[in-house]
């Protein structure tokens, strides 16, 4: 299994990193917080840490710390537009439930 980026997500991430001017890729992860147990972390990454699990998708580095990986294995990161809002969405097969607002989830 792996963690992948959709075409759209990859295009946008590529653009964001180019505009930001630095960064080796993006870092995904989960943290325990929120009303339904866990929340995603989505950050620019400036360096690869020794323990990181690194996936390559569309030529971009996706870094995940090994503790987070079991919760997100098989996830595809997508970029979607909903009305005026647009942003990233995790399509995570491990998710069993989400809180009403969708900001946190449980596995």
């Amino acid at each position: 299994m792996a963690v992948t980026l959709s075409d759209k997500a990859a295009t946008h991430i590529g653009n964001f990193i180019a505009k930001r001017g630095k960064g080796v890729g993006i870092r995904l992860g989960v943290r325990t917080s929120g009303c339904s147990g866990m929340a995603y972390k989505l950050e620019f990454a400036d360096e690869v840490l020794p323990e990181d699990v690194v996936f390559e998708s569309h030529g971009l580095k996706v870094l995940i710390d090994p503790k987070s990986l079991p919760y997100m294995d098989g996830t595809e990161l997508d970029f979607v537009r909903e009305g005026l809002n647009e942003g990233f969405k995790f399509n995570n097969p491990n998710v069993k439930g989400e809180c009403g607002c969708g900001e946190s989830f449980s596995v």
Partner: protein, 622 residues
């Protein structure tokens, strides 16, 4: 599922802890809102993909308010209730407003700030601006999917305290938390990243739709100091459109077109002007309502010729600002271009020639101020990593002082002091046995009180009788990070003290603001009721669904009469939920809860029995 944005390393926000912050360029002609998303600043668009919101508010007889393009179309048909360029009235009395007689509004001269009588009653410029800000806030909240933590709003560098306070009040009325007011040229400089550049003098040339401003900024130790400002409040891109419009009328041999034709031709002129930025010549074809045909071609050079004196009109204030700052064009390290009209090649060329360098034009001149404000808002909201945190300081634009004997101004805080700041100065009594002292706080660079702007008056009473000159009264001026002032006076020997927050001398008294806020709360009540109804309906649906499931599973626990009673309660609840009364639903819910109590407890017993069946007591973990 909520949509996520990429954060800076280590800055991921916990759920429900969004720190959404925006920058707002509240312009005379157009307004914009921008934010930093995924580390990249961007302007937010409305449903139609437009970024610019015309700063036009129209009050309709039915109590509705139209904002932006919709309002703009009514400008000709309903001029009295369609308010354009309200920014010119912010914090201004009737006597301060230029060309009152040519404006179509029904002015009411209230103390301090002028008011406008509309079909919805008398409105202050603060309220009108608040409508524009509210519209931008809604756009931002739809776009970002959450409530805003705060906003940075830009104001012209020359805005005085009353105008700044008016802007802040408008934001408050629109439900925005103002993180900071930021000078427009400073915002443009931030967008270009000049705050990280080497120290030096920069010029910001801002040719907007209807106003022209030139600011000379000096950057030293991370502080932007506004050294000089100048401009022309009645010169902008619209004047270029108008010149072209006249040229079309002349060359097509049309005189006195109808209102509708004028509007269409003016819009055509604007479009042609914009196309001439890229094309050497542009055809103009149009059939008017009068039957007249327009079929012309305009060369760029012709357009340059008919507008060249407008461009040179902007250069005079530029030279004046440089003279005021005691600088020559060679001292300027960079020139930032702001405002859509600076796209015109001959404007860029003229500015380039004056300063002897190519002006900075690689950012969109329409959005550069909003983008800079968004970047500042992002920092103030705490969305940037600690390592490269920068705090931008601003300066007060005009000196603050106090009136002394003879109507003279004693400056306490000189202009261009960095803020926040506090300064004190000692004063004394003028007459023997003088027991009180009146203070008159003024702002401005002139020596006579009558030439400066009056900000506030207050009195210090209870000074003990002393000979003239013996009392020592320390007057302290404090300016917070938004450029707003509080003044206190303290007699040193006895400690009697008086103080004043400089509240708008433009006369929007606190109770008026309170009244407007209250109006906002009344709407809030309305919203609350709608919300309560929705909540009850959702709850009723949830309960009905759960009950039906339970009846399917464990229906045999009830005898027929009990079952009929419960079914009746479900039906009653369903009927109530379809109504529009939150209270009725709530009552039905309570009735239902009582009716279903017995059923629920029997189900509980049953499941416990099932769980315990076949187990010894010490196998049960509690």
């Amino acid at each position: 599922m909520a949509l996520l944005q990429i954060s800076e390393p280590g800055m991921s926000t916990a759920p429900h802890q969004h720190r959404l912050a925006v920058g707002i360029d509240l312009g005379t002609t157009n307004s914009l809102v921008a934010t930093v998303r995924n580390g990249v600043p961007q302007c937010l668009q409305d449903e139609n993909g437009k970024m610019l919101l015309p700063s036009v508010v129209r009050y309709l007889p039915d109590g509705q308010v139209a904002i932006g393009r919709v309002a703009q179309t009514a400008q000709a048909t309903d001029p009295r209730n369609t308010i354009v360029s309200v920014k010119r009235f912010m914090g201004r009395g009737l006597k301060d407003v230029a060309h009152v007689e040519t404006m179509p509004y029904d002015f009411v001269d209230a103390e301090g700030m002028v008011r406008l009588r509309t079909v919805q009653g008398v409105k202050s410029p603060v309220e009108v601006s608040a409508e524009i800000l509210r519209s931008l806030r809604q756009r931002a909240e739809y776009s970002l999917g959450g409530e805003l933590t705060g906003a940075v709003i830009t104001v012209p560098a020359y805005f005085d305290d009353a105008q700044r306070q008016a802007t802040k009040d408008a934001a408050r009325l629109a439900g925005l938390n103002v993180l900071r007011l930021l000078n427009e040229p400073t915002a443009a400089a931030i967008a270009y990243g000049l705050e990280n550049a080497s120290e030096g003098v920069y010029a910001v040339y801002d040719l907007g739709g209807g106003t022209f401003d030139i600011s000379i900024l000096r950057l030293s130790r991370g502080v932007f100091e506004v050294v000089a400002t100048s401009g022309d409040a009645a010169l902008g891109g619209d004047d270029f459109d108008h010149r072209l419009f006249c040229w079309i009328l002349d060359n097509a041999g049309i005189s006195l077109p109808s209102d509708r034709d004028s509007r269409r031709l003016l819009m055509k002129a604007r479009e042609v002007k914009e196309r001439l930025t890229l094309d050497e010549s542009v055809p103009i074809r149009m059939t008017l309502e009068s039957g007249d045909e327009v079929d012309l071609v305009i060369e760029r050079q012709v357009f340059v010729d008919i507008t060249v004196n407008l461009v040179s009109k902007t250069l005079k204030p530029v030279k004046k600002a440089l003279r005021d700052a005691n600088l020559s064009p060679e001292d300027v390290k960079g020139v930032v271009m702001v405002g859509g009209a600076t796209r015109m090649p001959h404007v860029q060329q003229a500015v380039g020639e004056l300063f002897g360098q190519t002006p900075l034009t690689n950012l969109d001149p329409d959005t550069v101020v909003a983008v800079g404000a968004a970047m500042q808002a992002n920092v103030l909201a705490g969305n940037r990593a600690g390592e490269d945190e920068w705090l931008l300081l601003d300066v007060i634009p005009l000196s603050l002082g106090i009136e002394t004997m003879g109507g003279l101004v004693e400056k306490i805080i000189p202009r261009n002091s960095t803020i926040p700041t506090a300064r004190a100065q000692d004063f004394t009594t003028f007459k023997d046995g003088q027991s009180a002292m009146a203070f008159h706080v003024v702002q401005g660079e002139r020596e006579l009180v009558s030439d400066c702007r009056s900000l506030a008056r207050f009195e210090l009473r209870g000074i003990p009788p002393m000979v003239a000159g013996a009392a020592r009264i320390r007057v302290t001026f404090q300016v917070d990070a938004d450029g707003l002032l509080s003044v206190s006076a303290r007699e040193q020997t006895t400690g009697v003290e008086a103080r004043v927050e400089v509240k708008p001398s433009y006369g929007l008294a606190d109770d008026e603001i309170a009244g407007m806020l209250k109006a906002g709360f009344e709407h809030a009540q309305n919203d609350l009721e709608v919300r309560a109804l929705k909540e009850q309906q959702v709850e009723a649906e949830r309960v009905i669904e759960a009950t039906e499931k339970a009846l399917q599973a464990d229906g045999e626990l009830l005898n027929e009469a009990e079952r009929a009673e419960l079914d009746g309660a479900v039906a009653a609840l369903r009927a109530a939920a379809e109504g529009q009364e939150a209270r009725a639903i709530k009552i039905q819910l309570e009735v239902f809860n009582r009716a279903s109590n017995e059923f629920a407890s029997r189900r509980m017993d049953k499941s416990i029995r099932e769980a315990l069946a076949g187990h010894k007591i010490d196998e049960i973990r509690i």
